[in-house]
Symmetry: C2
Subunit: 238 residues, 2 copies
């Protein structure tokens, strides 16, 4: 079946690296949902403001379409070694490349050319991701308190201690620092590639962040504004 | 984007009429998921047996593709009168006709030609519905206890009293009767079309059920086995 984007979501995650493995791991990260012109109608979200959370069905748009079906994946939660069925995981490497996330609906912007714009937080998708559906989170139908959740129950993500030295905080606002810390303390490094001597870089929001890591600690080395030119081209893209 | 069915689900709901508005309204109704040959691999569901619930992303395959976008719907929960945004509802009449349901995973059948077969309950889709993805329900990421849920919180479905006279129970097993009762006590009649003098019919499993209804009561008039011929043609269809 052919499906068409109804909207796109714009987030601080400019690239795959550094994206949390679930939206709940990044409650402080905010995004905005802008509808495609056909679906940009206030009536289409009437009543949605009374829901705290919404489901997004979206596309893992940065994942290459596989020509051959790979039945197993190695979830980061299992250290990247153990293989598990693709349908027993939320891995992006799946036949139809569909993602599913519940995000917090913080606010609906009703005025302006692009309205209604949905402001959300607790996101885990890259900037510009196409959305195929938005549905209200239903606290009656969607909550199974007693649910056993396999390896999710038995394997926790270990948090690491994050240090952002004083001299790097200049000019950054407190909300940005808190959100960045939340991204880093889940240890964004791929499980299969963790080298202590290596310097990692990720882009979060309008900044490029470099850091190094020991097993239980991440130290930020620099936080630098993306240059004006790159900034501009990204704005044009939208 | 083009998406392809990875599996189909077979359920007792042979037609749209009578399908519960959420899977939780039909916890006793069971279905089985049979993978398409390409995805019919035991490794693809390895580890899934340790999850109690799974998400299904599926197609409202009996809904005609709309050529014009309809931004509002009239949810049955609101009595079929009040209009609400399509993205504030789980209505089947939506741009990409994608359904989302969490169902209970009762058992995985590991042996046999069609294995692995997933047996599930608490279903709300018509027999033969195509599935586009199966993901584990994650008790950490998917539960928002404090979530306000708009009209779902404020409008409950009123249950009606269901009577299935003794003489109609002959030859029906207890599980079937319990499941049928559960379907009927949610009152499957469309909200906009409730006539007391009318006799309604629905097909559930291998039986045709006729009933009549007063505002708070449903009385079953007959439960008749579907005829052999129809039965056979449906089996061939699969």
């Amino acid at each position: 079946m052919e499906i068409h984007p109804i909207a796109h979501i714009y987030t601080p995650f400019k690239e795959k690296f550094g994206i949390p493995r679930q939206g709940q791991a990044a409650r402080l990260s905010k995004g905005k949902i802008i509808f495609e012109p056909t679906y940009r109608r206030k009536e289409a979200v009437r009543g949605l403001e009374k829901f705290d959370y919404i489901w997004l069905i979206w596309e893992f748009s940065q994942i290459k379409k596989e020509t051959v079906f790979k039945p197993v994946v190695r979830p980061p939660r299992l250290g990247g070694n153990e293989k598990i069925g693709v349908f027993a995981s939320r891995s992006p490497f799946r036949p139809n490349r569909l993602g599913l996330s519940a995000v917090r609906l913080d606010q609906i912007e009703w005025e302006g050319d692009q309205s209604p714009v949905l402001w959300v937080s607790g996101i885990d998708m890259v900037d510009g991701t196409p959305l195929y559906d938005i549905k209200p989170y239903d606290g009656e139908a969607d909550i199974f308190l007693e649910a056993k959740s396999g390896f999710v129950d038995t394997h926790v993500f270990e948090e690491v201690q994050v240090t952002i030295p004083e001299e790097m905080r200049d000019g950054l606002d407190g909300e940005y620092l808190e959100a960045l810390k939340e991204i880093l303390d889940k240890d964004p490094r791929p499980a299969y590639q963790r080298k202590q001597e290596r310097i990692y870089g990720l882009t979060y929001g309008e900044y490029n962040v470099r850091f190094k890591a020991s097993p239980h600690q991440i130290i930020v080395l620099s936080v630098e504004a993306l240059n004006e030119q790159k900034d501009l081209s990204e704005r044009t893209k939208k």
